[in-house]
Symmetry: C2
């Protein structure tokens, strides 16, 4: 019968996406690409690996149609092939987090519970940011901010943070975010800010998580306010 054959074909196609998501390295690359487009060079240094290997994994992601490339001079610029890729990654991580104890334990080791902003909904935070009651700080590299960022967020990359403290309000609470739950940049930012007397906390969510929860993000507005 033809029915079984067709069904096998359908599940095989879905499994192509699953296969792409079955390697830790590819997941890390996808997470980076969910922040915005990047060259192979950037991806290699930010994921801490070997160019050849990164290139091979990017090939696999390309074959699963999760990423796309274009040439720019002698650089190849990769990008996620849609916002749904980041959202898929976020739901995959949520499922992993709720079912795998090992992951929860490792996450607890990674982030300091002290630095975490707790007990406040996305909507409330958004409203407070809109009114200017809190300052939402995007501590990722500026190119990622330009690609997409949380509403009302100001860009201040982690490595410039120390030189730009004067531009920050000392009376308002600061909420820092970065690439998502597995990224440490916002945690480091909070550490630095608190040491200098600011009231600061971090949230887990990045742009993909924000989108996966059905909220909207901005892009390419003025990074300094």
């Amino acid at each position: 019968m033809k029915e079984r054959q067709l069904k096998d074909l359908l599940y095989e196609q879905v499994a192509r996406i699953g296969k792409a998501l079955s390697s830790p390295k590819r997941l890390e690359l996808l997470e980076l690409l969910a922040q915005g487009e990047k060259t192979v060079e950037t991806l290699t240094s930010e994921s801490g690996g070997d160019v050849k290997l990164v290139s091979a994994h990017l090939r696999a992601l390309r074959e699963a149609r999760l990423v796309e490339v274009r040439r720019e001079g002698r650089f190849m610029v990769y990008r996620a092939s849609g916002a749904d890729v980041g959202a898929l990654l976020a739901t995959l991580r949520d499922v992993a987090e709720s079912h795998l104890v090992e992951l929860r334990l490792a996450l607890e080791q990674l982030v300091d519970a002290e630095a975490q902003l707790t007990g406040i909904s996305h909507e409330t935070l958004l409203e407070q940011a809109r009114r200017g009651d809190v300052l939402v700080l995007d501590v990722r590299p500026e190119s990622e901010y330009r690609s997409a960022h949380l509403p009302f967020a100001r860009s201040m990359p982690l490595d410039e943070l120390e030189h730009c403290l004067d531009a920050l309000p000392s009376d308002k609470p600061i909420v820092a975010y970065c690439r998502g739950p597995f990224c440490l940049m916002s945690e480091q930012a909070v550490g630095l800010l608190r040491a200098r007397g600011f009231r600061a906390a971090r949230i887990d969510d990045g742009v993909s998580e924000w989108l996966a929860h059905g909220l909207t993000v901005d892009s390419s507005t003025d990074p300094t306010h």
Copy 2:
């Protein structure tokens, strides 16, 4: 430095879920389990395979904590370890469908566009079903209906449909659904109903898709109305 090691560990855990989703057979088993708990025997016959192989794949799914088992007499009863598993499956399929042409083409071959209900939102359908303006028909096996079904749906398994036609209204439009976009039961039901003069159409969505869109489902109410 310890940071890289921890990050590798985190992504490795997420990749465990990805690995579980990387095999067509496992995806099919998960989809069946998303409809409700089933024995290995049932899973084997419904997925059309070999018991030993199905058992091996179930082991992999268990190790990824996506399914759980309990013994019942001499049967092992498997179940998805949460509603989020079905929702993950639904988003995975959505991503596959929007990025892989091959999948869209195969789907077109599978389902007759004629039978498909088009241009109506989930909310509208729900409202019409609530008011009784349409009859929503769950054509899956009754055990799956009991486990969870769309609001206001009536159970009428495909293989009983022919004997129960008297119980159906000939004036109201009938909307049939089954396990999801890859399942043909609702399509066959629509074929049969139309041949007997009923106004019938199918929708793609099953319980998991319904949930993944943020809607609610019912369970264990009276199947006959």
